[in-house]
Amino acid sequence: MKTLKNKAKTQFLALSENESFARIFTAGFVRNLGVTPSLLADIKTVVSEAVTNAIVHGYRGRDAESSLVFLELKYYSDKTLIITVTDRGCGIPDIEEAMQPFFTTDAEGERSGMGLPIMDAFSDSLRLTSSPKGTRVTMKKKLL
């Protein structure tokens, strides 16, 4: 049976400068777990995508001072990393549409529409739950 080996949690305002904070926090958490540079790049990428989505889409048009993004990392004995990014923003109206490569609601801002497809491809599993009260993304990555 797998057991929890380590856990870290942080929360920060939905400000774009915190995207790098989220990546550094995550890189620090996995630092001693023997991950390869390639695996570390994948992990940083999925965290960056999820946090950026929360900031750009979840809290779009809202005051950043009252908008929080939550990042939780859990590492289990079976060498699995679970990454959860949660926001209390407006939610995703159509998840299936959002998962389509190059689908974006912000073409003018040069959003590529590849955030969710990249998160899906770079993680071993992706679970997305969303309502008008917020969005939660949970990604699983085997650190082998």
């Binding site: 940083k44 190059f102 801002g109 040069e110 955030g115």
Partner: protein
Amino acid sequence: MKTQSAFKNGEYIVRISGDIDHHTTLGIREEIDAGLVTNKPKRLILDLSETDFMDSSGLGLILGRLRKCTEAQIGFVLVNPRPPVIKILRLAGVEKMLDIRIL
């Protein structure tokens, strides 16, 4: 993130060091686009040899510059992207649309 740019022989070379994410893309985009207007180059060269990290925001930046350069008939070259950057370009299926040079 830091950018260094140079213009010589009709080539506008921009080296991007550090991370390309949603936070940094706006500044990079504004700088490159202003340089395109000022320098009127024949070719834009993005040197990614010192780019440590890039996510889908960087992909949007690259595809946006490709579109802009194509419309203005300016050549567009990516130089020395590191493996994680190539992985993103490949996943998006845009690697073959781009002139990528490993020097």
